[in-house]
């Protein structure tokens, strides 16, 4: 039966390190991060559980499937952020969080889970970043990288998790 618990110090440090890599404090990601642990599972989900929901958990019993804002999951001491977190952080793009920005054609590629090439990148950054369109709407998480082809270097963004997932897998 799944149960919510507080993060261990080590797990919390993972979140801190992730937040730091984006240039924000962990409080920009979650005020009250908690782990939803399913016995025997290889990973566990992390939710930002609002206080009022936390209080209600005392009466709902032990069959919690989700609670609060889903921020990602932890597997073998590695944190993977959720799509919902990219939406939360997209509001901070240019205000503390550095985001990758793609044009409308790049948006289409990205949402189909395809690589975005340099000519559709409005703003490129290396590493894992929230990806937004030119209107500032979140599209998911992408990883900025430089690839070489025939001796020429190109900047690209590889989708790590894009909103198209809601159609492909999310129901």
């Amino acid at each position: 039966m799944a149960a919510l618990r507080n993060l261990t110090r080590r797990e919390y440090r993972l979140l801190e390190a992730f937040a730091s890599s984006l240039g924000v404090s962990v409080r920009a990601i979650a005020l009250n991060p908690m782990a939803l642990v399913v016995p025997g599972a290889r990973y566990f989900d992390v939710f930002d559980v609002p206080l009022k929901i936390l209080q209600s958990l005392g009466v709902v019993g032990g069959s919690v499937y989700a609670a609060g804002f889903y921020i990602g999951y932890i597997e073998e001491f590695s944190f993977t952020p959720s799509l919902a977190l990219s939406q939360r952080l997209s509001r901070l793009c240019g205000h503390g969080v550095d985001c990758i920005v793609v044009d409308s054609e790049g948006e289409r590629f990205f949402l189909y889970g395809r690589r975005v090439h340099e000519d559709h990148l409005v703003k490129w950054l290396p590493g894992l970043r929230p990806v937004v369109n030119e209107a500032g709407e979140a599209l998911g998480w992408g990883s900025g990288a430089v690839v070489e082809s025939r001796g020429i270097s190109f900047k690209i963004v590889e989708p790590v998790k894009d909103l198209g997932w809601y159609l492909r897998r999310g129901g």
Binding site: I53, S56, G61, V64, Y65, A67, G68, L111, E137, L163
Partner: protein, 331 residues
Amino acid sequence: MASWSSVDSVVFRVRASPEAARLAEKYGYRPENVERYIDVLGPLEARELLEANEEPMAQSFRCNSYRIECGHLRERLEGKGFVLEEIPFTGYGYYATEAPFSLGSTHEYLQGYYYVQGPASMVVVEMLDPAPGETILDAAAAPGGKATQIQQFTRDSSILIAVDRSRKRLRALRSHMQRMGFSNYVILLADSRKLPPGIVADRVLLDAPSTGEGVIRRDPSRKHSRGVEDLAEVHRLQYELARAVVRHVRRGGVLVYASCSLGPEEGELVIHKLVTENDNVRVEDPGVQAGSPAIPGFRGVEFDRSVRRCVRFWPHIQGTEGFFMCKLSVV
């Protein structure tokens, strides 16, 4: 507890008149189901219902005003070639009378700006009328149409306890809650007949599992997929759920019961049994200006007079999916 076996034996009798058999063959239904429609509506109106069920429904959706201003969403979708029309009896609903592609595949959908939902289905939460700060129990919540609407209407400030017993369907519920930007909720994998007694809500919604007879226009296989025996089984589940969730409504609180159905077995009969057995449960004014009055009786069984305050949506009258909904108070 009252014994309902004599009532059930009348209501769930399998029979079909020659007229029902003829119409059933013409429209592709089980004869006993057409007989039920004739018993409720009379032969002429039953035929109108069968005709209306032949017309596919326009796609419709509910704008998520929590994430986007609805006029802006409309402009964006119209810019992509959708022809939209406001649904007159809902606050945030639109028909897509022309759609260049599926409503479920736009970027706006992925951004959580709307939920693809039937027009009558949208009225259920308007009837529930949730307020910010309240504790709301959605007792059969997946896949999430009404749960997301509750959070939209309360600006994500109600404490929503969303329950369903299907893990597969809960996955969709969780996905919709995330996509549409909500966070003040807890989702339970549980059977709402067996919830802990400590759960007490200001408002409880039971959009009961149903035969799905109300969505024949979208899924014609439902014309013949369920017979009267299935209907009796679904009714029993609905009634057990309704009796169980009453215990989780705080005194003075509200229960809205709904089912996507055409027949009284999944609507009026459930409410009739509920109010007959429970002195503290009363049918209230629906508080919505849409729909038709409920069915007063069926096959000689006259329902409690208060049941007439419940509301029905019909394919041949409102042009929607078939739906039953009823607002009750627990005193």
